[in-house]
Symmetry: C2
Subunit: 245 residues, 2 copies
Amino acid sequence: MGPKEISNISVDCVVFGYDIKRKSLNILLIKRYLESETGSSVLVDDYVLTGYHVYEHETLDEASSRVLNKLTGLTNLYKKQFKAFGAPDRLMGEADQIWVKKKQFSPRTFTIAYYFLLKTEDVTLEGNANKAKWFPIEELPRLGFDHEKIIKEAHEDLKVKCLSEPITFELLPVKFTINDVQDLYQSILGIEIDNRNFRRKLINKKYIIALGEKQTGVSKKPAQLYMFSKDVYDKVFNKNYLISI
Amino acid sequence: MGPKEISNISVDCVVFGYDIKRKSLNILLIKRYLESETGSSVLVDDYVLTGYHVYEHETLDEASSRVLNKLTGLTNLYKKQFKAFGAPDRLMGEADQIWVKKKQFSPRTFTIAYYFLLKTEDVTLEGNANKAKWFPIEELPRLGFDHEKIIKEAHEDLKVKCLSEPITFELLPVKFTINDVQDLYQSILGIEIDNRNFRRKLINKKYIIALGEKQTGVSKKPAQLYMFSKDVYDKVFNKNYLISI
DNA sequence: TTAATAAACGTCATATTAACGTTTGTTAAG
DNA sequence: CTTAACAAACGTTAATATGACGTTTATTAA
């Protein structure tokens, strides 16, 4: 018997995974599926975020990391607790009620939502028991509970956050090109950015460090590789209070 | 008998009140006091945020507004749900345990924390049953539970938020001077700002509208009064994605 | 009448931004 | 080989914003 669970409180994880090859910001989702007794009809067939009840002796941060680790095997990722959801009807969709009954969830469950940032290539989905799958943020499937709302709010939070803090590098490999960063910002924000201005801005940052190396295995002019230095960022970064209202 | 309470979930409200006369950003706190049976010693004597359990049929937003309204009588204030707190030991301080026992709190209570923005002058504290009191953010008293941590995190969130959104006007009267706004930013951020540059920046905003009027009852050159136009802000404001990492 | 003081206006060098144009280095096709 | 295609990388310019100051103006109290 495992640790005791708190029946009406869970954590849910919005896992953002950037696919650098496809230039696509993805969300990792788990399949929910249930047939009727006779197998004659499908009662539940959609996707949900990964989540679980909080244990009796664990913090919210610990719970979220546990849940994320169970699904992906990964630890020490960037994460942010961004909002709690607890509307009385949040588990009250038609399919949700069937699911809640089957799983014996408390019908009034509050969830503390986190988002995580990682590279899709760092996760192995083959043979996972959860039928987990990546979906581009712009092409989400039908979602259970209030998870579409949770994802939308996570995305909005990420949009704002990535403008003021260097969290984007959590979504990229250690070595990246300037255009990789631009593609990522475009994927997150859903906008087009002028390459020449973006490039100049990024190259001028002291914490964006040009490595001597170039890309290999590309069929065009290979790009210069760069890395992000957190050390330089923490020291050099001008914590100026720029009022931009 | 009132609505049924969810025993292990509460909302807590960090009430930011700006005192324009004293140029002070304040927090509204409630006294916790308890003597031993014989009255020979003080068991609990500190302050806490206003908060309460969430009711069975109510959303988190509704719960926070209810709690805020009960204390201040006010509605329709700017509010933000900024974080959930649920560490297993968050009610485990010495005084806290005595209090939790007396009040029959669930020892593992999760709280969803909100902050509210208002003007101290809009709240009447005389004769309130809660012995509520304003404290300057820099001079907080001894606090119960994890409420010091909650206040600190609310303040950090407010610092960031006020740089990118015009929420500061929630803390000021409808008619204000440029220097009022500067004093407010200085109070929130704890920094000094150059008056000439700040003034220029603010006056150039289309949504900062000069009224024809001047201050009255001051013993120096009376300042021009301005107002903030949300309409103009919503229309005119350049929702530019300024990447400032 | 004047001293004190906060409000309001002004200056200037530098930095940043948006909106473009141009050159360079590489591979693949002819 | 030569060249077309194309992404990478560099450059230009005008407009605007910023930081760091100096100066003038309007008001009240002495």
